[in-house]
């Protein structure tokens, strides 16, 4: 599923060759974004600002990234893409990271646990379809603790923004989030039983 917040860049809008320094800065920025992406992370704008060293002041950084934001990157940054989170804008190299994973990393960087659970759960329920096991959020790359997940489930029950998010259990006691916008509770429970118990029994 394409992420509407993601913007891929075209070669249009090349800023011009008159500023060699700018080209070198763009190449350096591209490398910083690439190296961060290679670690399976996105590069938050705030973090990128801290990386700005000699030859790349804040104004130049802003200009280069605005090209990415507007889909008019310079040649050096044509592999860069961005995803807009709630708390920041995040950059990544699209050649080595999917938009979907960048979106997940942006959610993690935003550190808004309820929003993360809700967005991932809604996508899973609509797309696959299936509920999202607690174990998914406990594992890579989210790594929430089970206590945190139990707490999040309780807090989401009290928020109108997450009124559609509920919890179902399998016969082995495992739990999963589901969205009533896309799955009935009974169907979600049945699908989760298949994921958690039946598919392991009938390998």
């Amino acid at each position: 599923m394409d992420n509407p917040n993601e913007e891929r860049l075209s070669e249009a809008g090349q800023p011009g060759a008159e500023q060699q320094a700018g080209r070198e800065a763009a190449a350096l920025l591209a490398k910083i974004i690439y190296d961060r992406t290679a670690q399976n992370l996105v590069a938050p704008l705030k973090w990128l600002r801290r990386q700005a060293g000699p030859g790349m002041d804040e104004a130049l950084l802003a200009r280069l990234l605005s090209g990415v934001d507007e889909g008019k990157p310079c040649e050096e940054l044509k592999d860069a893409a961005q995803v807009r989170g709630r708390k920041d804008v995040y950059y990544y190299s699209a050649s080595i990271m999917t938009a979907q994973f960048a979106r997940v990393q942006a959610l993690i960087e935003d550190k808004d646990m309820l929003a993360t659970i809700a967005e991932v759960t809604r996508r899973d329920c609509e797309l696959y379809p299936r509920p999202a096991p607690f174990s998914k959020f406990a594992g890579y790359p989210f790594r929430f603790s089970m206590d945190e997940l139990e707490g999040a489930a309780a807090r989401m029950q009290m928020s109108d923004a997450y009124a559609d998010i509920g919890v179902v259990s399998a016969s082995n006691g495992a739990k999963a989030f589901y969205s009533s916008k896309f799955l009935s509770k009974a169907y979600a429970r049945s699908l989760f039983e298949e994921i958690e118990v039946e598919s392991r029994e009938w390998q």
């Binding site: 399976n40 979907q100 994973f101 379809p129 994921i195 009938w202």
Partner: protein, 696 residues
């Protein structure tokens, strides 16, 4: 000769004579299953029972094995069922190094016939074939036998052996190679009936291929562009940087931070292994964690697997907790083999950390069962033992002294030596517990007065048919489609063509779009939200079993193949179903289309169905064979059929499903092949045979 060796090895255990014959007349059956089934038809008359000296075991491989193709290290064994109704023809499959060694010795098949009076083993070293004394091996576990024969015959020897279960002709027994690779179906008991303790294989030859460059190109194509992980799950288990999708069911479990925690030299991170990195494929499937849970991570030493397999689906663990039970502390297995009998326990006692009691029980039971050569019939034996224990039948069937000698409280207290107490007695022909390892059909017959109709029809047992065959896989997988894939078998179907699609991890709409392109609209329903039967489903089901038969004949692992899907977005996640025929052409030098190869594979299915008709002595397969138990119609009683949340079947719909499936195969309404169909597959002699028996 390319692909095939062109030779059959025959070993007569009565006379100890050996001989070599041409295998060429069987090439029309591809090899493996097809070849072995035809040999059995030609050489074992109807009416012979599995333990008769006239009964035979045929071990066969196809042109693919030894070629270097991914997942080609499979061997098919064909024989008479020991444990299902009618003792009709079945086949079993073994991995490890057997296939490549048999080819390296120079043979497409090994025919084992006759019966010895004393324990023996067959020793094949290239063209030197002998029948050796095995008196000193009789009574040994399969691990001990393997070690003893490797010591005697030399390192590098592949050993297939039986344990106590096979020696004592327990119906549910198997042959083991490489400590844990198993050929089930009861073949271990047939070995035992022939006093055949083991087979040793050591060859220095190879498999000639017609076009090595084309084979290499195909290998690279398949491993870079088409293969995912175990069961060809094409998306990872967790979100990863290269993937649009993830699935908690996926066996592509490797990810950054997940390790082989007990690897020599320190933990090995499984990391990311994106499509296009074939040398990293072996890190994708952390099967010990998938099967046992996260607790297994720190005990995992590595992943292993069959020859020529890049997937590596066997999770090897080293578990110091097993020392106190006097067992090996290391073991490797996969799927149900990783936990065949731990579920006999009602509780687990932890040793060093929370959860290690259950893990220890699982590995302990796996080691025990593999050492005994005891087959679980895809969980049926465990289910049967639990059924008799949970319903209070043990006290009624066991002799008082037999019942008294077992400490049943261990089951509740978490003392896992209870598993050994039970399984060793199950393998003792003189103990009544062994009657529960006859196979569900015969258990039902023996104890019907006690257990009534409930046992054979129960959800606890989950058979696909009342002939005593386990569901593996069935209606839990694409409803009627999954259940139909069992119909052509006289045991559990083991068809993974369909479940690999539904379990691929891709979103449903992508799965549906890709398979509907080939089989038509409506062939694949939403998970647990099924619709009535249609012809597209029948075509899809037929494809499932034809490809399985092809894989078992070629020989190739149906636990991974076919390549219906791909992990690559740029392919639209569509795989390539013509790859088998491309390999066949490159290996044998006989250009063969996908349709032509499927036709050859189907020939073996048609023959096996005709053999079943003859063995059963009736054409009425619909009512004598293809009968699904009641649980399949009554599960989830509060949920109506064809609504969200159920996999239950509907009786009239199942009969319609059978009719449509029969039609796809060219069978009549009884489910038996017609003369026209048999002749279409060059099986006129089989049609004549059926007619002479009044069965056509």
């Amino acid at each position: 000769m390319n692909g095939w060796t062109g030779k059959l090895l025959r070993v007569n255990l009565t006379t100890r004579e050996t001989g070599v014959e041409s295998s060429e007349k069987y090439f029309g059956y591809v090899g493996g299953k097809g070849m072995a089934t035809r040999i059995l038809y030609d050489e074992v008359p109807a009416g012979v029972k599995p333990y008769d000296p006239e009964s035979k075991v045929v071990m066969a491989v196809g042109p693919n094995s030894g070629s270097s193709a991914p997942c080609s290290g499979r061997t098919t064994l064909c024989f008479l069922s020991t444990f299902t109704k009618g003792n009709a023809v079945v086949d079993a499959h073994i991995g490890g190094d057997v296939a490549t060694q048999l080819k390296a010795c120079g043979y497409d098949a090994l025919i084992i016939e006759g019966a010895s009076d004393v324990p023996v083993y067959i020793n094949v070293k290239d063209d030197k074939v002998t029948v050796e004394d095995a008196a000193a091996l009789w009574g040994m576990t399969t691990t001990e036998t393997t070690a003893a024969l490797c010591d005697k015959e030399g390192t590098g020897t592949t050993v297939m052996s039986i344990g106590k279960a096979g020696e004592n002709m327990i119906n549910l027994s198997c042959v083991i190679t490489g400590v844990a690779h198993c050929a089930g179906g009861g073949v271990g008991a047939i070995f035992g009936s022939k006093k055949l303790k083991a087979i040793c294989l050591y060859g220095k030859g190879g498999t000639q291929v017609a076009d090595p460059k084309r084979v290499l190109a195909l290998n690279n194509y398949v491993m870079s562009d088409l293969m995912g992980s175990n069961n060809n799950h094409v998306v990872p288990n967790t979100p990863q940087s290269f993937s649009e999708y993830d699935s908690p069911r996926s066996r592509w479990t490797g990810h950054p931070g997940l390790t082989w925690g007990a690897a020599p030299g320190g933990p090995v991170d499984t990391g990311e292994s994106a499509p296009g990195q074939p040398t990293l494929m072996g890190y994708r499937c952390q099967k010990a964690v998938f099967d046992h849970g996260m607790i297994a991570e720190k005990y995992t030493t590595k992943m292993i697997g069959c020859t020529s397999c890049p997937v590596r689906c066997y999770g090897a663990v080293s578990l110091p907790q097993l020392k106190k039970f006097g067992r090996n502390t290391t073991h490797a297995n996969t799927c149900l083999g990783n936990n065949p009998y731990g579920g006999l326990m009602k509780a687990y006692t932890d040793f060093e950390e929370e959860g290690d009691g259950k893990l220890t029980a699982s590995v302990y039971s796996a080691i025990l069962a593999d050492d005994l050569g005891l087959w679980d019939n895809y969980g049926e034996l465990k289910a049967t033992l639990n059924y008799f224990m949970d319903n209070g039948y043990m006290e009624k069937i066991l002799k008082p002294e037999e019942y008294a000698e077992i400490d049943w409280s261990k089951r509740e207290s978490g003392d896992i030596t209870f598993i050994a107490d039970i399984l060793t007695r199950v393998c003792d022909k003189n103990h009544t517990l062994s009657t529960l390892a006859q196979g569900a059909y015969f258990v039902d017959k023996q104890y019907h007065d006690l257990i009534g109709d409930d046992y054979i029809n129960s959800a606890a047992l989950t058979l696909w048919s009342t002939i005593g065959a386990k569901r593996h896989h069935g209606n839990e997988c694409a409803a009627q489609v999954g259940m139909l894939t069992n119909v052509v078998y006289n045991r559990d179907g083991m068809c993974h063509t369909i479940v690999n699609i539904t379990g691929s991890g891709l979103p449903y709409h992508l799965q549906r779009n890709i398979v509907e392109e080939r089989f038509g609209k409506g062939c694949l329903d939403m998970p647990k939200n099924y619709t009535p039967m249609n012809e597209a489903k029948a075509r899809f089901a037929k494809f499932g079993v034809v490809r399985q038969a092809l894989h078992d004949s070629f020989t190739l692992c149906n636990w991974v193949w076919p390549m219906t899907f791909s992990p690559r977005k740029e392919r639209g996640y569509k795989g390539d179903l013509s790859v088998e025929s491309q390999y066949f052409s490159a290996i044998t030098g006989k250009e063969t289309s996908e349709e032509e190869l499927d036709f050859m594979a189907e020939r073996g299915i048609q023959l096996a169905r005709a053999m079943t008709v003859k063995t059963y002595g009736t054409r009425d397969m619909r009512h004598e064979h293809d009968v699904i138990p009641e649980y399949a119609y009554s599960t989830e009683p509060d949920v109506p059929v064809f609504t969200e949340g159920t996999v239950k079947m509907e009786k009239e719909d199942w009969q319609l499903a059978l009719s449509m499936f029969y039609k796809e195969f060219g069978w009549d309404e009884n489910g038996a092949p017609t003369r026209e169909t048999l002749e279409k597959f060059d099986l006129k002699d089989v049609a004549d045979d059926l007619e002479a028996s009044g069965l056509l």
